[in-house]
């Protein structure tokens, strides 16, 4: 499979009469963009706002972040199951508005939603302080249940992201990169002497607004499976969850999966990248056991020598993490884990809710409980009072002047466990 990503650089975003990109500036026709998601009987009020890097702006509460992409050629369309149909994606060419993002905003779950600061100390902890954000704020109709509200925001975000890319499809790419790789059998035969590596992309699949979708399928109902990494680049995996902001894999993170990027860049050089195994984090013991046995067996059947395992969330899924590591290691398949830690606000607590001696290679994505001081921002997009209900916040977190003293976990992407950022906890 061969996929070309055509990256069109976006360095600024402005309202305009026509949605297009010109010399690095994305112009957005506000009314036209809103019309893409209207009418929607679930949404009472919808608006769009812009947030640019360096501005004194806070966006809160954030549901998801989606990178504008659309197919230029090749079967299907991005975000299969939502925007695209069910055709397998990951071939041909895809356009990326590199540096732009759609951010969906609205108080759904109340807890576990997050914020983005476009400047100040908080900006260092989120990749979205560096993207030109088009923020979609939607309020539900009276009495709408939370599940419908979440679905409305999720579907809207994806459509809006596609709309932006689609309007700009004729723009000249600043960077074109090809990702080409066949399946695990052929690639392993090409490089018999290189270690074979698979990737378990553990995803929150707990239900009740903590879900992940694969080609539109609710992943809590599937068993672990195998996809080609290119499929992730076309949005095969979508976030539908409101887990702790710090380590939720936003759809943007799935599209720009750094583990996929890293393994791909080394494929044929010091390893063979066998493929991506999207897998579950079931809340029930039977589900955890089924999933971990499946994961290990898939890795074995693929001929994996090693697996990179990323977690999503913390606490309950720490058990799945241990089961995955233990079962693989017992089969002689070596593992490395990327996970964040809940080491307490003082950093003195055990960071994982579970442990297993086989987890000997651990990459830390940071302590989610570490406190950060966030100054007031001149403009707040969304609903600032929701900080009282965010994981990592409390009523006393938000001060009258708008500044806040919160745990790192309140910031979207701050401890992302795909290992996107450079942050990690160390011993002091």
């Amino acid at each position: 499979m061969r996929l070309e990503l055509h990256r069109v650089s976006v360095r600024n975003v402005l309202w305009g009469d026509t949605t297009k990109v010109e010399d690095g500036t994305l112009f957005v026709n506000k009314e036209e963009m809103l019309s893409v998601v209207r009418p929607d009987e679930r949404i009472a009020k919808a608006s769009l706002e812009l947030a640019r890097p360096g501005e004194s702006v806070r966006i809160i509460p954030v549901k998801d972040v989606i990178e504008p992409r659309c197919k230029l050629s090749g079967s299907g369309e991005v975000f299969p199951g939502f925007v695209g149909g069910m055709e397998t994606v990951g071939e041909g060419a895809t356009m990326v508005l590199d540096g732009a993002a759609v951010v969906t905003c609205g108080p759904i779950v109340a807890f576990q939603e997050g914020l983005i600061d476009m400047s100040g100390p908080g900006s260092a902890y989120s990749p979205f302080s560096e993207t030109c954000n088009v923020v979609f704020i939607a309020e539900p109709v009276e009495g709408l249940d939370q599940h419908s509200y979440e679905a409305a925001l999720r579907e809207s975000g994806l459509k809006l992201a596609w709309y932006l890319a689609d309007c700009c499809r004729s723009a000249k790419a600043d960077l074109v990169k090809a990702y080409e790789m066949e399946g695990p059998v052929r690639e392993s035969a090409l490089y018999p002497h290189l270690p074979k590596i698979a990737y378990f992309c553990m995803s929150i699949t707990q239900g009740l607004l903590h879900d992940t979708f694969l080609y539109g399928a609710d992943m809590k109902h599937i068993v672990p499976t195998l996809i080609h990494p290119n499929e992730k680049m076309d949005g095969a995996m979508i976030s539908g969850n409101c887990v702790s902001a710090c380590d939720k894999n936003t759809t943007w993170h799935h599209l720009n999966d750094p583990i996929v990027e890293e393994l791909y860049s080394r494929h044929g050089k010091d390893l063979v990248f066998l493929g991506v195994i999207p897998t579950l984090e079931d809340t029930r013991l039977a589900g955890k056991e089924r999933t971990s046995w499946f994961n290990a067996n898939l890795a074995r059947m693929l001929g994996a020598d090693g697996v990179v395992i990323s977690e999503e969330g913390y606490g309950n899924p720490d058990t799945d993490l241990c089961m995955n590591a233990a079962k693989c290691e017992k089969l002689g398949i070596r593992t490395v884990i990327i996970s964040d830690e809940a080491a307490g606000t003082d950093g003195k607590s055990q960071g994982l809710a579970d442990a297993t001696p086989e987890m000997t290679a651990f990459v830390s994505a940071g302590n989610v409980n570490e406190m950060v001081e966030l100054p007031a921002m001149e403009r707040v997009i969304g609903f600032p009072e929701s900080i009282a209900n965010l994981s990592g916040g409390a009523e006393e977190s938000l001060r009258k002047d708008g500044s806040m003293f919160v745990e790192l976990q309140a910031i979207i992407g701050s401890t992302n466990e795909l290992g996107f950022s450079r942050i990690g906890a160390r011993w002091v």
Partner: protein
């Protein structure tokens, strides 16, 4: 910058008073330097001056710990220090314990940093690593030169108020605290590098060693349930509506105790879920789904067990620091035991 004031603590041997036969000497002090304090003073250069040295016999400290601690603290304090440097103790056990102890005490009471040096296997390390900064040194005074240089380097940074990096980078034995730093490269890159090293059989440094969980022996089973008093405890965050005790939705540092003696059922008018780790839709429609008071009352009436304890204990169990959770368990357990409870049903989410 004003020259900072450093005080050094040494034992009878390094003060030149004698060996084991002088280990019982009580605490004393001298203005200026003595023993290794002299070289420390040289190494600190212009940033700081060793203004005084406190001496105490290792046996005196070890056999009169509370008294020695108070006496030495007073002597140290009299010099008005900005920093205390003790030892280095190398592998001498009593000296290591004394150094660690006085460092911890001084840091806590005077709120100034303290540094000491010990061989990693010195018993003082495990006891005091969290209370001070222990620089790893050789197992004997043959390593004095390197030890003093390492200690002085760290002391210099502290004196100049420089931001410290990870323990490994700063050259001290970690105080068992996790802190966030930005690495040179992404977590994804570090992970693939680590995995390839593991596959190659090349040594690598894991970023987090697996914790060893304490194993608690379970109590023996209840022999006659019909005579038992059962209590309900929950980490599912079910609290009286309005969360009167302001229990946190995540990373809870407290638990609530609520009287349910007059209730047969939890209803949303009176109770709610404040747990930040699961979607509370169903728990808020019927709080019994997480704290099953209704079923317990039914079984109590049927005589399955004798009595439901009058109170429920509740907290939120997401992101809760283990140290807090252990404390909750101990406190709740002690109270339940005192009140004659035989067994607990703990509901978790």
């Amino acid at each position: 910058m004003m020259t900072k004031r450093v005080v050094c603590y040494i034992n009878q041997f390094f003060a030149g008073l004698g060996g084991e036969e002088q280990a019982h000497v009580p605490p004393s002090s001298k203005a200026g330097t003595m023993g290794p304090a002299m070289q420390i003073d040289n190494l600190l250069g212009e940033d700081a001056e060793v203004v005084g040295t406190v001496i105490c016999g290792d046996s005196y400290y070890g056999e009169n710990m509370e008294k020695a601690r108070v006496e030495c603290l007073e002597l140290v304090s009299a010099f008005g220090p900005d920093l205390l440097i003790a030892g280095p103790a190398f592998n001498a056990g009593r000296y290591g314990v004394a150094c660690g102890d006085i460092c911890k005490e001084v840091s806590e009471r005077l709120e100034i940093p303290s540094i000491t040096g010990m061989f990693p296997e010195n018993p003082g390390v495990e006891l005091y690593r969290s209370g001070t900064y222990i620089v790893p040194v050789a197992d004997s005074a043959r390593g004095m030169k390197n030890a003093l240089e390492a200690i002085a380097t760290l002391a210099g940074k502290m004196i100049r108020g420089e931001k410290l990096g990870a323990a490994e980078d700063e050259g001290y034995i970690s105080r068992a605290i996790r802190k966030n730093f930005f690495h040179e490269v992404s977590g994804a890159r570090r992970a693939v590098d680590m995995l390839l090293k593991k596959l190659d059989g090349v040594s690598f440094n894991t970023e987090y060693e697996m914790p060893v969980f304490k194993r608690v022996t379970p109590a023996p089973p209840v022999m006659d349930m019909s005579k038992a008093t059962i209590a309900l405890v929950s980490s599912g965050g079910i609290v009286p509506r309005g969360n009167p005790d302001h229990i946190r939705v995540s990373s809870a540092e407290s638990y609530g105790v609520y009287d349910i003696s007059k209730l047969d059922d939890l209803t949303p008018e009176v109770f709610e879920s404040i747990h930040g780790g699961y979607d509370r839709v169903w728990a808020n429609e019927d709080p019994d789904t997480v704290l099953p008071l209704d079923i317990m009352r039914e079984m109590e009436k049927e005589g399955v067990f004798a009595k439901l304890y009058d109170h429920v204990f509740t907290t939120t169990g997401t992101g809760t620091a283990v140290s807090h959770a252990e404390r909750f368990g101990r406190e709740i357990g002690e109270r339940l035991k005192k009140d004659g409870v035989d067994a607990v049903i703990l509901t978790s989410t």
